[in-house]
């Protein structure tokens, strides 16, 4: 018997599996997907029931629902095992190419859309345009820009050599006419590991042996894959990045460019060198991007001597360090091995023999005992697959991703859409109820005396006038509120800019003083670098603080809108004072401030600073230039932050006003329609009732309308109820995620 059950304390592992069991079979983000499906159905059902003014809102909601997805960035140092991790997570062990040398050269986007039919092309590779390539290959780009700002005309030898190397390699691999390929887009209907490797893998950088396949990775800008299956229920996009801390500077730059706002990051560490200083600086960088949703995965525990006990020690050490570094955050840390996960997957899908490498690794960590039996028995195979799934950390990371997904951007968007739909449905129900009321009263009055009918019409018209006057007054109030919101944003942005600039000014003074001090103490500064981390932190704290303050002001004003709408509803429907309940106000969270994490020239390494110091004669001049440099580098960051806050808040104000206006206009339209109906009835009445045909037509129209209104009323009520349930579902999943 090959399987060695005693070595891993199977009971513990199997108990852990039972704990994760509920996630084991379930796809990631199932609750969210259920909510999304329901919302799509409700939106479709509401289309015929709502007034014209609400249509654009519905269409926007439909579009957003169709496009919504969770973007997960997989980041980490070079050779941490990011591609292997993705392969294990999506349960396709050979999907992305992996190698002992840095392998992923291209940002690879993997789309999982289980709910929608697949696009025609499963793999799309875009090449750099001629301009982009030239910029990159000539050493343009960010790094060059930074070095230019610090030490103009200083061309680092290393970068130059690497760029030369890259140009030559592209030519060697793709022929002298490779420039003709630039700007092209290659599409494939099927994905094979070979095709991905051709475009994504860095390949054998230094081997001279010619490959039979073309290697495009040097000139590929993005690789986009559309995959069927996978572990996600909710639409999800995984972004595989080339590792950071790559000695090939060009690749490092490509990664920094690609962190375009994922909802969540999985930060992959190697258990062999967990949380090195480079990891910490990368985490600080991510800090500005989206700190609430970072998961740390400590990979490669299979390469430790005792994975279970050492893994636990490393995990504790990493957690402790993260708590010290980011005290306000609760960053989940998971230990595991993507490589073991892949073996586990192979076992689950029926393999019962290992290759020698897998075999010796499993033997080394005590999961397998070498023996005469080469093939696992059926029950051993299943048990070992379970153990590997647990040990690999894949069960836990899937559950964690699912949990974080419930609080990510996509989930918040669903909540907002549900709230908006709920308001619209309620408003439509109110309009329908009141209009139906009028028609029913007219229908009843048909039987009565003409004078009574006239009186009834007059009474209705009078009350409608009052509503109208009130609704118009509210519209005026809305306009005032709109102006007020704009004012809050404008003034807030001004204050924010001043505050942040003051922070940068103070910091530049401090740094210059520090430099002068250092220059006084040491005759020749050997190594110079400046840590601007503290400045980033101060800026971020001030930015978040100001944003929350402005957001608070906005939501307070927003809250003022709803009582107004409730007041109209109450007037229109005195019998049902509860007909309109404001949907919960979704909190306004600051969006990730990428600008804060952008690299500045001040963060270049020691060699550049040596050049910089050498170029300036007196200490005063050095200090002066340093001060100026800090300002020049950080003022654009401040501008970006202010713009970000303004845009975000203005967007929110616009959304709120659009919703409020759509609601009030829907009600006004309903009032208008009722007035027209009354006028028509009055015309007929005044015409002396001579035109019998006209009367019949009018009555028939009234009956038809009444029927339609009853249907709309029922549909809206049903939708409202369903929306209430969806909101509860979203809230519950979000709450679970927060509480877990």
């Amino acid at each position: 018997m090959g399987f060695n059950p005693s070595s891993l304390r199977l009971e513990a592992v199997e108990a852990a599996h039972a704990a994760h069991g509920k996630h084991g079979g379930e796809l990631i983000g199932a609750a969210l997907e259920e909510a999304r499906g329901k919302l799509l159905k409700i939106t479709a059902a509401l289309v015929p029931c709502l007034e014209e003014h609400a249509r654009p809102l519905l269409e926007a909601a439909q579009k957003q629902l169709a496009l919504s997805c969770c973007r997960i960035g997989i980041v980490g140092q070079v050779k941490a095992g990011k591609s292997t991790f993705i392969n294990a997570l999506v349960q396709q062990p050979r999907l992305l190419p992996t190698d002992i040398n840095p392998c992923t050269a291209v940002v690879t986007v993997l789309n999982f859309r289980n709910g929608t039919p697949p696009p025609e092309h499963a793999a799309v590779f875009r090449m750099f345009s001629a301009e982009e390539w030239t910029e990159l290959a000539e050493g343009g780009g960010y790094l060059r820009e930074l070095t230019q700002r610090l030490v103009p005309n200083f061309h680092p030898e290393l970068l130059k050599a690497q760029l030369e190397f890259m140009r030559n390699r592209a030519e060697r691999r793709l022929g002298p006419n490779f420039r003709k390929l630039l700007g092209q887009c290659h599409k494939f209907k099927e994905i094979t590991p070979e095709i991905i490797a051709d475009y994504v893998s860095a390949g054998e950088a230094h081997s001279t042996a010619g490959s039979t396949r073309q290697q495009y990775s040097d000139i590929t800008r993005t690789a986009e894959l559309f995959l069927a299956g996978g572990p996600f229920a909710f639409p999800t996009t995984l972004i595989d990045t080339p590792g950071t801390n790559d000695p090939f500077l060009v690749r490092d730059e490509i990664t920094r460019r690609c962190l375009e706002n994922p909802d969540m990051f999985v930060f992959v560490l190697s258990a062999l060198q967990p949380l090195s200083p480079s990891d910490i600086s990368m985490l600080r960088l991510l800090n500005g991007l989206n700190k609430d949703r970072i998961v740390v995965f400590i990979n490669r525990i299979d390469q430790l001597a005792e994975p279970a006990s050492e893994g636990a020690v490393i995990k504790a050490a990493v957690e402790q360090r993260l708590r010290r570094e980011f005290p306000a955050r609760d960053i989940p840390v998971i230990v595991g091995s993507a490589w073991l996960g892949a073996i586990g997957h192979e076992l689950r899908s029926g393999a019962s023999v290992f290759d020698p490498v897998q075999r010796s690794a499993l033997e080394r960590i005590g999961l397998f005992r070498g023996g005469a039996t080469e093939t696992l028995s059926e029950s051993d195979r299943r048990r070992l697959a379970t153990v590997l799934y647990e040990t690999s950390g894949m069960a836990e990371i899937s559950a964690t991703i699912g949990r974080l997904m419930c609080t990510a951007g996509g989930a918040i968007l669903l909540q907002q859409i549900a709230a908006c739909l709920l308001e619209l449905a309620q408003a439509a129900a109110i309009s329908a109820t009141t209009e139906l009321d009028t028609i029913e009263r007219l229908q009843a009055a048909r039987q009565a005396e003409a004078s009574a009918l006239a009186a009834s019409i007059a009474e209705e018209q009078h009350s409608l006038e009052q509503f109208r006057a009130r609704a118009e007054a509210i519209e005026a109030t809305f306009r005032e509120i709109e102006a007020h919101l704009a004012d809050i944003i404008r003034r807030g942005a001004g204050t924010l800019r001043n505050d942040l600039q003051e922070i940068v000014r103070c910091f530049s003074e401090e740094l210059a003083a520090e430099l002068l001090n250092k220059l006084r103490q040491e005759r020749r500064g050997r190594f110079w670098t400046f840590d601007v981390g503290a400045l980033r932190e101060r800026l971020e704290a001030a930015y978040l603080d100001a944003f929350r303050r402005m957001a608070g002001d906005l939501t307070r004003v927003e809250r003022f809108l709803y009582p107004q709408l409730e007041a109209i509803a109450a007037k229109l429907l005195p019998d049902a004072p509860e007909a309109f309940r404001a949907a919960p106000v979704t909190p306004l969270e600051p969006i990730p401030c990428e600008a804060l994490s952008s690299r500045v020239a001040l963060e270049l390494g020691a060699p550049w600073w040596k050049q910089w110091l050498a170029a300036r004669p007196s200490p005063q001049e050095k200090a002066q230039h340093l001060k100026q440099l800090v300002k020049e580098e950080f003022y654009p960051v401040i501008e970006a932050l202010v713009r970000l806050a303004e845009t975000r808040l203005a967007e929110r104000a616009r959304d709120v006003m659009t919703r409020a206006n759509a609601l009030s206009e829907s009600m006004l339209t309903a009032i208008e329609r009722r007035k027209q109906r009354l006028a028509a009835q009055q015309d007929v009445l005044e015409g002396g009732g001579g035109d019998r045909q006209a009367i019949r037509r009018l009555h028939e129209e009234q009956d038809r309308r009444a029927k339609a209104l009853r249907e709309a009323k029922t549909a809206c009520a049903a939708s409202s109820e369903e929306l209430g349930r969806v909101l509860k579902l979203l809230e519950a999943s979000c709450h679970d995620a927060g509480g877990a």
């Binding site: 140092q77 070079v78 050779k79 941490a80 190698d99 002992i100 040398n101 054998e204 950088a205 230094h206 081997s207 801390n245 790559d246 000695p247 500077l249 490092d252 190697s270 062999l272 060198q273 967990p274 090195s276 200083p277 480079s278 910490i280 600086s281 490669r300 390469q303 430790l304 001597a305 005792e306 006990s309 050492e310 020690v313 050490a317 490498v357 690794a361 050997r526 190594f527 670098t529 400046f530 840590d531 963060e603 390494g605 020691a606 060699p607």
Partner: protein, 259 residues
């Protein structure tokens, strides 16, 4: 707990239990004063286990639980001892258990004296981890590198030669780099022969130009070889790359410095 030597296998407090050291045929026993070798690298890059591999004995502890923040100078003495030297040159006998309680900034270095034959040929210094986080190199480490006849940079095979490593190495004066040996550690964690070959081919092209010599060592195998007291340990040791590393270091030591 580490994948190297367990805590329990550390030298006992006070005089190390290493009574007899195995013969070390790869270090020429010449009548010269022992050559100074300094071992540096990033954290968990296998510095300490490489020192032990060089000496053929479990000389320095290799646990990540109790990282040692001071350089450890290992030299020959007929009687084993561990002595802490403070910044004010005061010296004090200590043991590995007590080292963690020493003040982090008051200590210049630790002197570990062991009755190992190999230490008659070389004096080895283990150093605290270097970090490329913008801070300058530890002055103590820099001074030890300047004085050494060979400086070994440890890079772990699984994540070998990262940008941060190059950055630190290039901070050293060229004079020091000319005596540098790139030691690729934990070769035994690579999963196949072809992985090994591809890694070596990349490092030869990308990293070797910054060094005088390069060697590959399988730390885990070297440790196992050391534990094997019977016959055949020498062969095992040779296979682990320990002998190759010793030869690479010796070649650098033997190269006369350019005036």
């Amino acid at each position: 707990m580490s994948r190297r030597t367990a805590t329990a296998r550390r030298p006992a407090p006070g005089p190390a239990r290493t009574g007899v050291s195995p013969p070390m045929p790869w270090w020429p026993a010449v009548g010269l004063p022992p050559a100074a070798v300094t071992v540096i690298g990033e954290f968990r890059s296998g510095r300490s286990s490489l020192v032990n591999a060089l000496l053929g004995a479990a000389a320095v502890p290799t646990s990540m639980r109790t990282p040692i923040h001071h350089p450890v100078l290992v030299s020959y003495s007929p009687r084993a001892a561990l002595v802490a030297e403070f910044l004010d040159h005061r010296r004090q006998h200590t043991d590995w258990e007590a080292v963690g309680r020493l003040p982090q900034h008051g200590v210049r270095c630790l002197h570990l004296r062991l009755p190992l034959e190999s230490l008659k040929s070389i004096r080895v210094t283990d150093t605290p981890a270097c970090a490329a986080d913008g801070a300058p190199l530890d002055e103590r480490v820099l001074a030890l590198c300047r004085r050494a006849q060979a400086v070994i940079w440890c890079t772990p095979a699984v994540q070998a030669w990262k940008a941060s490593e190059r950055e630190i190495w290039l901070q050293l004066p060229e004079r020091v780099r000319k005596r540098g040996v790139l030691a690729v550690t934990y070769m035994d964690l690579l999963r196949s022969e072809s992985e090994r070959a591809r890694l070596v081919s990349r490092l030869r092209a990308e990293a070797a130009p910054y060094f005088a010599n390069m060697a590959m060592i399988a730390n885990l195998e070297a440790a196992r070889a050391r534990e094997q007291q019977g016959n055949g340990w020498h062969t095992l040791w040779q296979a682990s790359g320990g002998a190759g590393l010793a030869a690479a270091v010796q070649a650098v030591i033997d190269t006369p410095p350019r005036s």
